[in-house]
Structures are given as structure tokens and as C-alpha cells.
Assembly symmetry: C2
Homo-oligomer: 342 residues x 2
């Protein structure tokens, strides 16, 4: 494991503390000189994690200049854009401008790419002082350099879609890929998606359908979301309930499903998801707000024989699958487009 | 779902906040008067969750009196034993002393049972001030009353084993059952158990072997644990590493395994577990100290195509399987017996 494998994870870029992986590091080395297995990206735009941008904006009382200064200071001191309060980062797009001879990523100089690993582990140097950013939006025009390791992921940006659409879709592309895999492996017929009108939710519905599920239920919070989801035609049945009210979720869903996918970014959705799932079924948790003990002990406490998965943001082919679903499903476009700042 | 099904989950015992299930409640009603579908247990002993006991003990600097006072205060204010820091509870044993006419659990007054649902959702009242507990062990002699709902689980204590042994084994019986199921379903050959010398760890090793795995690696923290595990003969290979040091875990494990089972009750074991697992493999997280975001973002950040399971404490047949492994495997007994306060 030592040596090449360590390098592949970027451990050689960790300045402190020693021994941790880049995501857990306080400080990375953003030196733009690429190692033999690294790739350098000429940065064009950062897409800050929503929770991170909100925290910075609130801490600065909405003063864009102050937010910009705060982001610059974080990147300068940490060598990466990881908000020390929220712990989160985001992603970036840019142009490949150097590829080490041993890089296994298959990228070529000149390709426009989005990084699919978090900014929290991506060495980053900002060169333009973020002069073209007003500090008022999470989309940050930027010039600088970022480094990808051997064991990283980047998606070549498609020519046929606006960058903002690609970013929005790629940001959540783990969810539809994992949903498709679970539905296929389990031979699932019925699927419930909790938070079905959002980006990851509507893509997960479309992925479940494509994977062979035939009874799709979309659960949403409001009547407006229900109308939009019904109009999009991605679900066989649309129900309205508060995802954090387990009994309301169970009542709305009715007969429990083979697979339940949790796409709402609120805490407290674990028990409703378990109740929505049949014995022998599977729950896929995609929300970062999921509580591990609440899921584990909740299922045990209800004597619920369900398999519960930690939604892994990476599944091979996830980027292409999500972009294809966006292209091929008008219902997905109808739900995602209004959420994209073009 | 409303009505009988709500009662079955114990919702009528939730005092605050309204609408949540008992496990998510801040406070339960521990009134010993049984409803028509409830069972009351006359408590004899609590078995605190290891992560919870460790947290309490550390917070009290190992002062047993202070730990006892802390547990009493939690039960008094919450109506259940749920550590507010770790979110975890434990289990209990006692004697059935009232059975509602509509209880479906099949229990009879006078039977000695262990509850297999977590203390985090079990209405509990302590009557003796825990006067017979020194606060220095997770096994807590206690007098009081606890309530089981219709949708609960309890195991009648076997006659052939000491109570303390049954309690110790049943406390972790979800781990071997889930390990066996994952190994069987995946047809897994190689299994790594992190924290292999503990109760859930050694039972998981034995369960993996019984389910057909042929390359078992036990990872432990210390040379003393390594010696004990080697002597027990449950693993084909015993390695020593700090579970919270991902590179050390990866180096110790070497070739990644089909299945990795995490049984250490410390935080920070997620990334090492992912690195110990082959692409296409499965990680089963049993530690209540598991961080959901650390697992999800860590796997994504390493482009690790692993399936990650939230260890569900309930699998049908889990109690019988664990007790049978204890009876049939001298190595399991050799590791568990010294941990049991007889």
C-alpha cells in the first residue's frame, strides 16, 4: 500500500497533520508543478457547496467583498477550498493544462472538465484574487490551478449542454447511478423516492425506471412540488408528506416498497424511509444529513429487516448516466432547468 | 398505518417532540402501567452500548460515581437510556411481569428475557438508584421497569448459559447475522474484520467462516489483542494497526478484501475500512461511532466503488445464530468470556 498507492490518494500533498488523507488535512501543498501521476487543471469556475456559501455569506452579513476575502484566505492558508465551519467544499470546472506521464485518468491537455471529487481534497491555488466574483453567488469565476491525483475523478464537459447544466447534473450524479444499480441487483419492482422533485430525486426516479422498476412513487413536501413532479411524468404516483414525519411518510406511501431512495437534505428522514420499505427491501441514503445511529438503531427498534446503504457518491459510469438521463428525459429537464443559474 | 400500527411502534409513549418515533424522542413516558399490546419487564441488568459507556467514562474521568449519576440523570430526564452525545443506548435483561392481552410477542409472565431493541427507544424507569453498580463497567445491575411495544423484539434467555454471557452475546448479535448474510449473498471469499478481538468482531469472524469465507483477516489495535485472537484461531491472519489511521490499515491488510466489517467503537475508522475493501466489495459499518458523511464523502473522494452498509441490528434469526456461534466455537468463548462480568 505504501508508495505508489499513497501517492495515488494524494498523501504526498498533505502538509499537516502528517499521515491523514487529503480530505482530513488542515493544509495541502497546491504547488502547480505536477507529479508523474498528477493532472493540473487551469481553473475557470468554482462551484461552492451550498451549505458552505450560506455559512460564509451569513458570517459576513452578506457583504460580498468580505465573502471573497474569506474564500481567498481559506484557499491561501489551507491550499484547498474547505470551509472550516461546515467542513464542505464544492467542485470546479476548468481546462486540463498538464498531464503527468503516469496519470491513469485518461485526460488530455485542452479538455474542459469538471472535477467529481470534492474541493475539500483538491489542491488549489487562486491567481486572480477572484477579481471577477462579486461574492454574492456560489458560482465563482476564478483563475488558478488545481491538482488531480491518480485516484481522482473528472468528467469531460459535454459540448451539447451549458456548463451550468452539466455542473448541476454532475453535482448529484452518484444518486441515479446507485439507484439504478440497487434496482437492477434486487430486481426491484416498486421504488419510493423521498424528495423526488429535486435534482438527485428526479434523476433517481428516471434511473429507477430505466433500470426496470415499474411502480414508482415520488414523495414531495409541498403541493407545488407535487404539481411539478406530476407534470414531469417521472413517477406513477406522487404523494405529499413531510419526510421527517415517519408516520406521515408511511401513511402517504401505503404499501412499503422494494427500494426507497432518500434525496432530501434534511435530518430526521431515516425512520420514515425505513417504514416506507418492505421487509427484505433496501433503503439508499443520499442525504448528507443522514444520522448513522438514527438509521441503524431505528431499523433495529422497529424490527425492520431492511438493507440500508450509505449513498456512495462514486459508481463507475455515474457521470455519463446522469447526463444521458438529463438529455433523454424531458421530465428531468423540466425539473432541473429552473434550478440552474444559466 | 395510523392507529394500531402507531401504537405498535410505541408512538403513544412519546412525550416530546410530537410525531417522532420513540428512538428519535427526547423524552418517553416510562409509566409502568401496560397498554393492551405492551409487555412490562422487571429489569435486572442493563448492558450499556460500548461507545456510550466509553464516552460517559471519559467525560467523567473514569469516576464511577459520576458515571452512575450521569446514567441516572439521563434515564430520569429522558425516560430511556439514550446517551445524548453518542445517541446510543444498549439493552437489558429482566423478567416478564405483565403482558397485555393483545401483545403479539408470545411472552409469558415469569420468563427471563433480553430485549433486542435498543434502550434508546425503550421506556425505562430505574427504582434502585443503581446502588449495586460501581459505574466502572458497562454491565449495570439495576431494578426498575421497562416497556416493550407490539413491534419489539425480545429473546428468552437460554438455560444453558450464564445471563452475563447471553447478554454480552445478544448485545451484538446483529453483527454476525448481517456479516453472514453479506458473505452469503456476495459469495465472498476474503473478509477483513476491523476490531476483531472484541465481542462483535470475533462473532463476525466466526459467522463469516460459517457462511463460507475462506480468507479471514482480523485487524486489532494491540499486540496483546493479536496474541489473544491468534490463540483463538478464528482468523487466518491477524494484523495490528490503528483503525483510525487509514494508510496503516491499508498497509496492514494488503490485498483489499471482498467484505470488510467494522466493529471498532471509535470514530475515524471509515476511510481505512474503504481502503481495506476491493472495488466491487462491501463495507459493513457496525460501529455506532461511524460518521455518515465521512463514509460517503471518503469513498467518493477515493473513487472507491464499494457498497457501504449501515449495520442493521436486526436480522431474522440473529439471536439464535449468535448464541449458537458462542456455544460451538471455543475461539469465540475464549475471547468473550474474559469480557463478561459473571
Amino acid at each position: 500500500m505504501r508508495g505508489t498507492a499513497e501517492r495515488a490518494l494524494g498523501v504526498h500533498r498533505v502538509l499537516e497533520p502528517a499521515g491523514v488523507l487529503p480530505q482530513a488535512a488542515r493544509r495541502l501543498d497546491p504547488d502547480p508543478a505536477v507529479g508523474p501521476d498528477e493532472v493540473r487543471i487551469s481553473v475557470q469556475r468554482l462551484n461552492l457547496d451550498a451549505a458552505s456559501f450560506r455559512q460564509l455569506s451569513e458570517a459576513c452579513d452578506g457583504d460580498g467583498e468580505a465573502v471573497r476575502a474569506a474564500v481567498l484566505e481559506i484557499v491561501r492558508t489551507r491550499g484547498k477550498m474547505q470551509n472550516p465551519v461546515t467542513g464542505s467544499g464544492g467542485m470546479l470546472i476548468g481546462v486540463v493544462d498538464a498531464v503527468g506521464p503516469e496519470s491513469p485518468l485518461g485526460l488530455a491537455v485542452g479538455q474542459r472538465v469538471a472535477t467529481l471529487v470534492s474541493l475539500t481534497l483538491t489542491p488549489l491555488r487562486i491567481a486572480d484574487g477572484l477579481a471577477h466574483w462579486d461574492g454574492l453567488s456560489e458560482q465563482v469565476p476564478a483563475e488558478g490551478s488545481a491538482i488531480l491525483f491518480a485516484r481522482s475523478i473528472a468528467a469531460v464537459l459535454p459540448d451539447d449542454l451549458p456548463d451550468a447544466v452539466s455542473l448541476a447534473v454532475l453535482d448529484v450524479c452518484g444518486a441515479p447511478a446507485a439507484t439504478a444499480r440497487v434496482v437492477e441487483r434486487a430486481g426491484a419492482t416498486s421504488v419510493v423516492v423521498i424528495g423526488a422533485a429535486g435534482k438527485s430525486g428526479c434523476l433517481s426516479l428516471a434511473a429507477a425506471r430505466a433500470a426496470g422498476a415499474t411502480e414508482l412513487t415520488g414523495l414531495v413536501r409541498t403541493d407545488a412540488e407535487a404539481a411539478a413532479l406530476t407534470s414531469a411524468g417521472l413517477a406513477d404516483r406522487v404523494v405529499v408528506a413531510d419526510a421527517t414525519d415517519p408516520l406521515a411518510v408511511a401513511a402517504a406511501v401505503g404499501t412499503p416498497a422494494d427500494v426507497t431512495v432518500v434525496c432530501v437534505d434534511v435530518s430526521g428522514a431515516e425512520h420514515g424511509a425505513v417504514l416506507a420499505t418492505a421487509d427484505g427491501g433496501t433503503v439508499v441514503f443520499f442525504s448528507m444529513a443522514t444520522s448513522f445511529p438514527a438509521a441503524a438503531l431505528g431499523a433495529e427498534g422497529m424490527a425492520a429487516d431492511v438493507t440500508m446503504l450509505v449513498g456512495n457518491g462514486y459508481t463507475p459510469g455515474h457521470a455519463a448516466l446522469a447526463l444521458d438521463l438529463y438529455r433523454s428525459e424531458p421530465g428531468v429537464r423540466a425539473l432541473i432547468d429552473p434550478r440552474v443559474t444559466q
